[in-house]
Amino acid sequence: MYSEILYLIKTGQDQDEFCQQLENLREALYKKEGEFEKVLETVVRKDLAREIKKVVSGQQDKISFLKDLEREIKKLRKLSLILSYYPSEVGIDRISEWVYQNISKDIVIDISIDKSLLGGAVIEFEGKYIDLSLKKKLDEYFLLNKQKILRLENP
């Protein structure tokens, strides 16, 4: 039931944004008639609103549905990606799609920037850490070839 909605969540930012919007929708249910639809049209993201409309039309208990959906969204696990640049929307989609297909369907990406990495990425997921950055590769290279490099300076 929730898989199409969960598919829309690609990053940690999306996850937080969706949770906030679901809370707004839940609050709207306790207000006057028509408030729920108004919030769905004006506040909620278009793609989320479309999917919610599809599902909610057949639902009697909207409150439980929204609560369950929020719980499912919070269960999504975060994969932290530290990059040296902020990728475009297309880039994020491609990374997210790859993770979805190759690792697991319940993972979202949390991107942060560290320009000192120069390139590549540092990946953290559920306590595991792997540094695949260009900075590390260069450090290793320089360490391995220290003597050679020093000889270049003092021939």
């Binding site: 595991k128 850490y129 792997i130």
Partner: protein, 488 residues
């Protein structure tokens, strides 16, 4: 310890601080962390794993700088170790092995884990060597042996630390290494201790492991374990080591604080259920071994003389006796204010020679009789001549046992003086005169090697007290020449 980047590279695991409760930090992540493993924060702080949960790892911080939520943490994949080496002698360090007195960093020979299993039975032997404290009252009536664990217990400001320093002074002169664990002391106190040790020239045979009262609870908690680890290093080199834990009641209080912050269920007096184990596993690492010995002198503070407190009784049950400092005796001006009737030594008697044991037994029963007679005197009954003489002798013996701070009385000269008193040597002298003359005998013994040899030969040749007393009775010159030469 290497830096954060190194460990994160090596181990490949990371955590993030989720919650902070004073010195207890909860970290998410670190999937393969082990209990008691050391972790490193990206800001440089060190911590140790207390417990592991499904969601969080509970970590005890060893520094007081504020860690923030969101700080990254990495595993070091090692237990808590400290660097040990002979170069630690003369140094004042914190429980993590860092120097507190400035200067160059100590060059480390080996890394030893702070938590170690005590050696088993096959590596141990009976307590069979006498441990001379230099305090007559202790050496005769509450004798200690090398490898004994003896608790020093009493109210605050009754002279416990002075006794310990006296013992350290006496023992370091004979080549024993002394490790002093100062637990949660004030900075001014540390300064005073170091000045005392330096002035007496014994700091070079000592290692001081210090934690200040302002240090984080985790660091204070480690202090006695670090001291014991250093002691084990020197023991493994074949040396005899004296370890002083000053004091264990404060240590228990800080462990209680840590446990309550870590939401452990409080037991009696809010102490955690494992408080006995915390101290027992430390005491069990002391003892007499085939390689060397570790003599432990833990200190326990009482309130209003209450020795039946929780921590006090715990410590009494895991040690081989206790030396009790009585506030009433202190208020009467007695120094050291040790109550020999309420003090116990479980393994010290077997280290005494036949003569000294004989003297100790006779003296103990004599002093008990004196106490009874004094109580009888309250009724105002008339005293016979023999009772008066007995009381006079008792007064002289008690007077002799009064020893000023810094004065050392070697065992054999103590035996000589007491045997002389027994023989009636000073029976016609004033108590104060006797005290001065006895002091002169001790001084001569300490300074004149010929006289020392003479006294040693004389005392050691006697099989029992009766023989010694009879020989002294017929040969008073050995004693008189010491103070006649001094006083003319």
């Amino acid at each position: 310890m290497k830096d954060f980047e190194y460990y994160i590279d090596q181990v490949g695991e990371i955590g993030v601080v989720a919650e902070i409760h004073h010195s207890i930090v909860y970290v998410s992540g670190l999937p393969k962390i082990k209990p008691h493993e050391v972790v490193l924060f990206e800001t440089g702080e060190i911590g140790q794993v207390l417990s592991i949960d499904q969601k969080y790892v509970e970590i005890l911080l060893f520094s007081d700088t504020n860690v923030r939520v969101g700080t990254r943490v990495c595993r070091t994949d090692s237990a808590l170790n400290i660097g040990v080496s002979e170069t630690l002698l003369g140094k004042v360090i914190d429980p993590l092995g860092r120097s507190l007195m400035g200067g160059a960093a100590t060059r480390v020979k080996e890394l030893h884990p702070i938590e170690a299993r005590p050696l088993g039975i096959t590596d141990r032997k009976n307590v069979d060597s006498f441990f001379e404290t230099g305090v007559s009252l202790v050496d005769i009536l509450i004798p200690l042996g090398k490898g004994q664990r003896e608790l020093v217990i009493g109210d605050r400001k009754t002279g416990k630390t002075q006794l310990l320093f006296q013992i350290a002074l006496n023992q370091t002169k004979t080549g024993v290494i002394c490790v002093y664990a100062a637990i949660a002391k004030r900075r001014i106190e540390l300064r005073q201790y170091i000045d005392f040790f330096s002035k007496k020239g014994i700091l070079k045979n000592m290692v001081v492991v210090n934690s200040y009262s302002s240090d984080p609870g985790g660091l204070i908690f480690l202090t006695p374990y670090t001291a014991m680890t250093i002691a084990e290093f020197f023991r493994n080199m074949g040396k005899d080591v004296l370890v002083i834990f000053d004091d264990m009641t404060t240590h228990a209080k800080f462990y209680r604080e840590i446990s309550l912050l870590a939401k452990r269920f409080p037991g009696r007096s809010a102490y955690p259920g494992d408080i006995f184990y915390i101290h027992a596993r430390l005491m069990e690492r002391g003892g007499n071994f085939k390689k060397g010995s570790i003599t432990c002198l833990p200190v326990a503070e009482t309130v209003m003389g209450e020795i039946s407190g929780y921590i006090q009784t715990n410590l009494m049950s895991m040690t081989d006796g206790h030396i009790y400092f009585d506030t009433n005796l202190f208020n009467q001006g007695k120094r050291p204010a040790i109550n020999p009737f309420l003090s116990v030594t479980r393994v010290g008697m077997q280290t005494q020679s036949v003569l000294v044991r004989d003297l100790s037994r006779q003296l103990s029963s004599f002093m008990i009789n004196i106490q009874r007679l004094k109580q009888f005197m309250h009724f105002g009954a008339e005293l016979t001549e023999s009772v008066r003489q007995t009381l006079a002798l008792g007064e002289r013996v008690e007077n002799f046992f009064q020893q000023a701070y810094g004065e050392t009385n070697p065992l054999l000269v103590t035996v000589l003086i007491i045997a002389s008193l027994w023989a009636g040597h000073w029976k016609d002298e004033q108590s104060e005169v006797m005290k001065k003359q006895a002091r002169a005998v001790v001084e001569k013994y300490l300074t004149d090697n010929t006289y020392k040899k003479e006294v040693d030969d004389f005392v050691q040749k006697r099989a029992n007290l009766k023989e010694l007393v009879s020989e002294i009775g017929s040969n008073t010159q050995l004693v008189t020449k010491a103070y006649r030469q001094t006083h003319g």
